[in-house]
């Protein structure tokens, strides 16, 4: 029996939430131990945000190259581009390696002890990892989330989750994506651009069902142009490996049969609470219930990130992790962001920050809603992008900006400006009065504010 390891803070999970909490705790001089069962960086760095963006980049480059195959409007001629998916995946793995190694170095630099292994929770103050007992004052749960599986589509063989989809050995001939949310669409579009035939089956009546149809319209158009088949309002019944056929049924009971050599199940994620049941924490649906300080119902047991439910976003987990470390250091903190940006790296990209027009209506807020199309933005034209827009929602009485939505090529980078304006409590006049560099997509942000004030210049 090994000796008990004593620490002040024990972090379970080395994803964006857990490792940021540990680094910040280290900076604040809190003795910290981090336990990770797989790879540092968690879902985000290893099988989520980063590898998917790498794959999307590969797909876009290949797609661009192919578009010049027989000469293009840009005057580029390319002859028969070829894709070595093995090397693509190796390149992606290189990025992931560099980042996870970086995380390990940062943890070490800040004096965090990293223990590799699966933690078994004994109680709110004691955890065992491979027989090693760790005693802590504060237990931070940051176990993240995992893909939701469908009972009629058990994973294995041709049926894969996003994890396998991000490390393909070969490309499928026909990929059927089950789920028209952002993960399914990001990967579906990437696979289509890499050359596979792609179909998307979604149970609801439209894609990206959490966003309004005005916002998702440019994405739907782009999907159509890329040749991705959409089967909306279809519920999946099952998959027959022998005939390689996926069956689904629509609302009227019509059966749909799709031949598919690979099926990607992307129907959402669920908080990973297995192993935490013994703590008997208060739950909020499938997630651990936490207050504004990320405190669970048990004293000095904290929970952050996907484990605490929606919105399941890495940047939310990081902010919560940083906050919990500071709370443990005795500072007074509260998680009360004005907004958390949500980005879909579809083609075109989509950003939502703060209040949408629909939410404003539900809250009974009298709001001005104005949008500025990228069709009138010079920079967008030079990027061969004509679709999409920036939309602003502001209170009519004092012009306080309540929310931003944008769809278009490269709009993910506008999310910082959107979030910052909301955090600073900007009014339409503040945005309209800020000189935005020309020629950039950001000009559309200023113009949207100007349009809300009734005097857009370039429209």
């Amino acid at each position: 029996m090994q000796q008990t390891l004593d620490t002040t803070l024990l972090v379970i999970g080395g994803g964006p939430g857990g490792y940021v909490a540990a680094i910040r705790a280290g900076q604040l001089g809190i003795p910290t131990v981090l336990v990770e069962g797989q790879a540092l960086g968690g879902t985000c760095l290893n099988i989520g945000c980063i590898p998917s963006k790498a794959l999307i980049h590969v797909a876009e480059q290949f797609h661009q190259a192919c578009s010049h195959q027989d000469g293009s409007a840009l005057g580029i001629h390319v002859s028969a581009p070829r894709l070595d998916i093995g090397r693509s995946v190796a390149w992606k793995d290189g990025i992931v390696d560099r980042l996870t190694t970086g995380v390990a170095a940062l943890l070490k630099k800040h004096g965090v002890k990293v223990i590799q292994g699966w933690a078994t929770i004994v109680d709110g103050k004691n955890v065992e990892v491979d027989g090693q007992r760790i005693h802590c004052e504060h237990l931070l749960l940051a176990t993240g989330s995992s893909s939701v599986e469908l009972p009629m589509l058990p994973l294995g063989g041709p049926i894969i989750s996003s994890t396998e989809a991000l490390a393909p050995e070969t490309l499928p001939k026909h990929l059927v994506v089950v789920g028209g949310g952002y993960i399914g669409l990001e990967l579906g579009i990437a696979y289509r651009k890499l050359g596979a035939r792609v179909s998307v089956v979604e149970a609801r009546e439209r894609i990206l069902p959490t966003y309004d149809s005005e916002l998702t319209q440019p994405v739907a158009e782009s999907i159509g142009k890329l040749g991705i088949q959409l089967y909306l309002g279809h519920s999946v019944e099952g998959y027959d490996p022998a005939s390689q056929c996926l069956t689904a049924r629509d609302g009227q009971g019509q059966t749909l049969t799709l031949e598919a050599d690979r099926v990607l199940v992307a129907v959402g994620r669920r908080p990973r609470t297995q192993g935490l049941e013994c703590l008997d924490l208060k739950m909020n649906g499938p997630a651990i219930d936490v207050d504004a300080r990320c405190q669970t119902s048990m004293r000095n047991v904290w929970a952050i990130g996907d484990l605490t439910g929606e919105p399941m976003l890495a940047h939310r987990a990081m902010a919560q992790g940083e906050m919990v470390a500071e709370l443990i250091a005795g500072k007074s903190r509260r998680f009360e962001p004005a907004a958390i940006a949500a980005v879909c790296f579809t083609d075109p990209e989509l950003v939502v920050v703060g209040t949408t027009p629909e939410q404003a209506g539900q809250q009974g807020l009298d709001c001005i809603v104005a949008q500025f199309p990228f069709a009138a933005n010079g920079r967008a034209m030079t990027l061969e992008s004509r679709s999409g827009f920036v939309r602003v929602v502001a209170r009519r009485d004092n012009h306080l900006v309540m929310g931003w939505q944008a769809v278009g090529v490269g709009v993910s980078e506008l999310s910082s400006a959107f979030a910052q304006s909301l955090e600073m409590g900007a009014r339409l006049e503040d945005i309209a009065g800020t000189i935005h560099a020309h020629p950039t997509l950001g000009e559309a942000v200023q113009e949207a504010a100007l349009r809300a004030l009734g005097h857009a210049l370039h429209l």
Partner: protein, 448 residues
């Protein structure tokens, strides 16, 4: 229109100075006849000053805490008719901005403009008006907060306060809930300056961080004025001049308590309830017959000890503002119930600041009791120029050995202090032993 001036009245024989404790009116207020305008204090009596006329307050003659000469101008009131006052320049009197402009032609135009700028604040506190003459800039800064507040749109109850992340973090660090802070920025945004104003306000409470305790750096300055200053002076004086000698004795009050309960059972409806105090007073009265040197006052400047036939017992009483000692006069002549009801009445009057100067002075010996808070022993401070003070400690059931047996008795300590310059230890001890003898055999309190 005329001016009526109230002068500081002479409220005690031969007293030349009176302390102004509190104003109940401010410049510009309209007051009616008999309305109380101020509290003033002498010795230990606080006196209310009513206005004999109706009118508008033009000027106040001093600030709370200021010691003013009897006969000096207290307040100036504008009245219908001719008033009682012909206007002559008064150096002491501070007048509101407008009046200064009108009255003195020598003021520089710049200064007048500065004073004028203060006007929109209305009848601001006199201190502000004083500042405005010397330092208009300071008033500008001080007045800003009020000015901003007027233009601020108030948030709805459930509306989130609007503030940048830096302001939010600073507020959290300082333990301030932003929903209590008014925002002066665009759209009611809370700015760093708003936090500054909020934090510089008195009584800003600093909260506690979860998982730790915040270090507190706030402090509060309380001017020692009024009754508190009086108490401080008297206590300091007593401690400096008197050679204190304290003596603690244990008293078995089982029989006394039994008597008290019996008397209350028998008589409380018709004669009122008895506490221990009148019984203690009775014991002191009887014991003092044999110890005239203890019922005495000592004028150490004249080097004279006055032994008093009358027993005027000061009853130490806690009021809202501090310690007061109303006086039970001629305790030697009152019956048990006379003294009981008089003690109750005096304590009530003192607590409500209704005790007259007469009732607050002239004691020859003092009795101090904190009741259930009396503790085991205390070291009372002699109420000069008296030479003795008797302190009563808590009564408790204790095991006591009587005739070789442990029995439970009601025991109570008396902690008394004496002025050792004029009271010898032997006499003090004998006096307390006499009191003890009387209290332990309560029949002796009444059998002559």
């Amino acid at each position: 229109m005329g001016t009526h001036v109230i002068k500081m009245p002479d409220i005690g024989e031969g007293i030349a100075q009176v302390e102004l404790v509190e104003w109940f009116v401010k410049i510009g207020d309209t007051i009616t006849e008999d309305q109380v305008v101020a509290d003033v204090m002498t010795d230990k009596a606080t006196v209310e000053i009513p206005s004999p006329v109706s009118g508008k307050v033009l000027a106040l003659g001093g600030e709370p805490g200021e010691v003013m000469a009897v006969g000096s101008e207290l307040i100036r009131i504008e009245v219908e008719g001719s008033g009682n006052h012909v206007d002559t320049p008064q150096a002491k009197l501070v007048e509101p901005a407008g009046a200064v402009e009108a009255a003195s032609a020598v003021q520089l135009p710049a200064a007048s403009a500065a004073v004028g700028a203060v006007q929109p604040q209305g009848a601001s506190a006199m201190a502000d008006a004083v500042q405005s003459e010397g330092a208009p800039a300071a008033v500008g800064a001080g007045g800003r907060y009020t000015g901003c507040a007027a233009s601020v749109a108030h948030r709805q109850a459930d509306e989130k306060p609007l503030a940048s992340p830096a302001v939010r973090k600073r507020a959290l660090d300082a333990g301030i809930e932003l929903r209590y802070v008014q925002g002066s920025g665009p759209a009611g945004r809370i700015l760093h300056e708003d936090l500054d104003s909020f934090m510089s306000r008195p009584n800003t409470r600093v909260g506690q961080a979860p998982g730790g305790y915040d270090r507190r750096t706030d402090s509060e300055q309380i001017p020692v004025i009024g009754l508190r200053r009086k108490i401080a002076q008297r206590m300091q004086d007593a401690k400096r001049r008197v050679a204190h000698f304290s003596y603690v004795e244990e008293i078995d009050v089982t029989a006394l308590e039994a008597l008290r309960l019996h008397l209350n059972k028998q008589w409380s409806e018709s004669r009122g309830k008895l506490t221990l105090l009148p019984l203690l007073v009775r014991a002191m009265v009887v014991a003092l017959r044999d110890f005239p040197q203890i019922n005495a006052t000592y004028d150490d400047e004249a080097q004279v000890i006055t032994r008093h036939g009358a027993v005027h017992v000061g009853i130490a009483t806690q009021g809202d503002n501090g310690l007061m000692v109303p006086v039970l006069r001629h305790a030697e002549a009152g019956s048990l119930w006379d003294n009981a009801s008089e003690i109750t009445r005096l304590a009530h009057a003192a607590r409500n600041n209704k005790a007259t100067r007469e009732e607050m002075s002239g004691s020859t010996i003092t009795l101090t009791s904190l009741g259930a808070l009396g503790g085991i022993a205390s070291t009372p401070v002699v109420n000069t120029p008296e030479v003795a003070i008797v302190g009563v400690n808590r009564m408790v059931d204790r095991p006591v050995v009587i005739d070789g047996q442990i029995v439970v008795r009601k025991m109570m300590n008396l902690s008394s202090s004496f002025d050792h310059r004029v009271v010898d230890g032997m006499d003090a001890a004998l006096f307390i032993q006499a009191v003890r003898g009387l209290l332990e055999q309560p029949a002796c309190l009444f059998v002559e």
